[in-house]
């Protein structure tokens, strides 16, 4: 479990993280979403003990990061941003080094090596120089390096940056698999990536957490009006005005007549779905409804709203 309370970090006069608080339970996969420079990496660096917080408290499995840095670091696997690697080493030498520092040598190391090779699909490259590996393999090596000691907590800073779509799907699958038994806290500035992988999303903007919840929760909290696209045959401008009068919750936006088919756009409040009434109205008036598609605000829009305005609160 990770528990962060009133955490702040200043770089000189710049406040990178402003008094944020959150909790992550074991077995959760949490995505940390924010634009570049929002404070994601700084927060992760503090949780892993690379940076010391200016203020606030970080507890990992009831240990405090200031007093028990090494104890916490033993329980965490960390993949830093940009995945730095000792390119002059061979893959297994690198794992041997990391495992050695974590006191895993001999038989246990062989088992650990077999586990990460299996998990991360590193079979073909284990004896290669890291510099000879492709970007996708390097990313997997970084991930494997974070898992060599089988940590309870995985902290991944932008784990799929720079990978091609196939590799992204692979890494995503791997993270999901790992998330079944571990706490995974991963950051990203790409929404789709987070949405496809995590149980819960936290959005950080200018050092403050502006949203925190499952993607459904975020949708229902932040969703504004719903746009309804309709294609109607047999109606006219007058009848549209009738609709307005009969269903005041529906707001008429636009209408276009293309080859006798009216393309109409309405807007309505998310709580007041008028589609049934619209349908009945159409039947009563002998219209044919060819299409009726509500366009809900998606997470993408919410993310954009939250990280450009910054004044919308959960």
């Amino acid at each position: 479990m990770i528990k962060v309370t009133d955490l702040s970090k200043d770089y000189g006069p710049v406040e990178a993280v402003k008094s944020i608080s959150f909790e992550i339970q074991d077995g959760e996969i949490v995505g940390f979403l924010g634009a570049n420079g929002a404070g994601k990496t700084t927060t992760l660096k503090m949780i892993t003990g690379y940076l010391v917080p200016t203020e606030g408290k970080i507890e990992v499995n009831d240990l405090n990061i200031i007093d028990d840095t090494h104890e916490i670091q033993k329980q965490i696997g960390y993949l830093p941003e940009l995945n730095p690697l000792y390119t002059e080493m061979r893959v297994y030498e690198y794992f041997e080094f990391l495992a050695g520092i974590r006191n895993i040598t001999g038989r246990p190391f062989k088992d650990a090596l077999a586990r990460v090779v299996e998990n991360c699909g590193l079979n073909g490259v284990i004896h290669k120089n890291i510099s000879e590996c492709s970007k996708g393999y390097k990313q997997r090596i970084g991930l494997a390096a974070a898992m060599i000691h089988d940590p309870k907590i995985l902290i991944l800073d932008e784990p799929v940056t720079g990978l091609d779509p196939n590799q992204i799907v692979e890494i995503r699958g791997l993270i999901k698999k790992l998330g079944k038994e571990k706490l995974v806290f991963m950051s990203s500035h790409i929404l789709q990536e987070i949405q496809a992988t995590v149980d819960r999303i936290m959005i950080i903007h200018e050092g403050e957490i502006v949203a925190n919840g499952t993607s459904d929760e975020l949708m229902s909290n932040f969703m504004g009006n719903v746009l309804l696209n309709m294609e109607i045959k047999g109606g006219g401008v007058e009848s549209i005005e009738h609709i307005q009068a009969k269903l005041p919750s529906v707001k008429f936006i636009s209408m276009e007549d293309l080859n006798g088919i009216q393309h109409v756009q309405f807007e309505y409040d998310k709580g007041q779905d008028p589609r049934e009434e619209l349908f009945r109205y159409a039947v009563d008036n002998n219209w044919s409804i060819l299409k009726m598609t509500p366009h809900t605000t998606n997470l993408e829009d919410i993310f954009r709203d939250l990280t450009t305005e910054g004044d919308i609160n959960a």
Binding site: P80, L85, E88, E93, I101
Partner: protein, 237 residues
């Protein structure tokens, strides 16, 4: 202790996986060998004094070159972040780095022992004691310069900058006793005590005095301490 060994091992692997170590060892041997054998047969003296005179000069550039990457490179490629988030103490990291650099110097020194065997073969009345103390002095000086190099490598992420700082600091300590005539009389003793060459020449003469040993060990300790502080402070920034 185990962790120091792991850092040390990784560093040595790094040295020998790249051309670095080989280039260093070969050039170190060639340069020293050239300057030593050049005059050895002319002088006709059964000692290694020319070797012991040339090695410190070679050190001036070679040791900063070996140690420039030790920490600066980790800062540069970002592996420092991995190191810092491992359950590893800063002193273990720095000691491992220092010992790796120092070991490479010792290997270079060991390669010069070929001249010792030449001497044993052609010379007469060889003073083994003087040769032993000469090597001891060179080893201590090498360790001191390595500590300085490790420190200069820790203050930057640019290896070239680390090299320049390293050469500069090493040069200052090397040149100190050559500036004695410009120094006020009251300070002369202090400046001389700080000069690395002064202590080296004492030991090379065969006088292994505790004052000289104290000097070398405190220099090493001081720069390693500075390195640890430099790295620790970074976390708080």
């Amino acid at each position: 202790m185990l962790n120091i060994r792991m850092v040390f091992r990784r560093e040595m692997l790094g040295f020998f996986n790249s051309p670095m170590a080989y280039i260093f060892l070969v050039i170190f041997a060639v340069v020293n060998g050239y300057f030593f054998t050049n005059t050895f047969f002319l002088f006709g003296q059964s000692d290694l004094r020319t070797l012991f005179d040339i090695v410190p000069l070679v050190y001036l550039f070679f040791i900063p070159a070996i140690s420039m990457g030790l920490i600066a490179r980790e800062n540069n490629i970002g592996t420092m972040e991995i190191i810092s988030t491992l359950p590893l103490n800063t002193y273990e990291f720095v000691m491992g780095k220092f010992l790796a650099g120092f070991s490479l110097i010792l290997l270079g020194l060991a390669a010069t022992s070929i001249h010792f065997f030449t001497l044993m073969a052609v010379g007469t009345n060889v003073d083994i004691g003087a040769i032993f103390s000469g090597y001891l002095g060179l080893a201590l000086m090498g360790a001191t310069f390595t500590a300085i190099g490790v420190y200069s490598s820790s203050v930057t992420e640019n290896q070239v900058v680390a090299f320049i700082i390293g050469v500069f600091v090493v040069l200052v300590f090397y040149m100190l006793d050559k500036t004695l005539i410009f120094v006020p009389h009251s300070l002369a003793g202090l400046v001389q005590f700080l000069a690395v060459d002064y202590h080296l020449s004492n030991i090379s003469r065969g006088v292994i005095d505790s004052r000289n040993l104290v000097y070398f060990f405190s220099m090493i300790g001081f720069f390693i301490f500075l390195t640890i502080q430099t790295l620790e402070v970074r976390r708080w920034k």
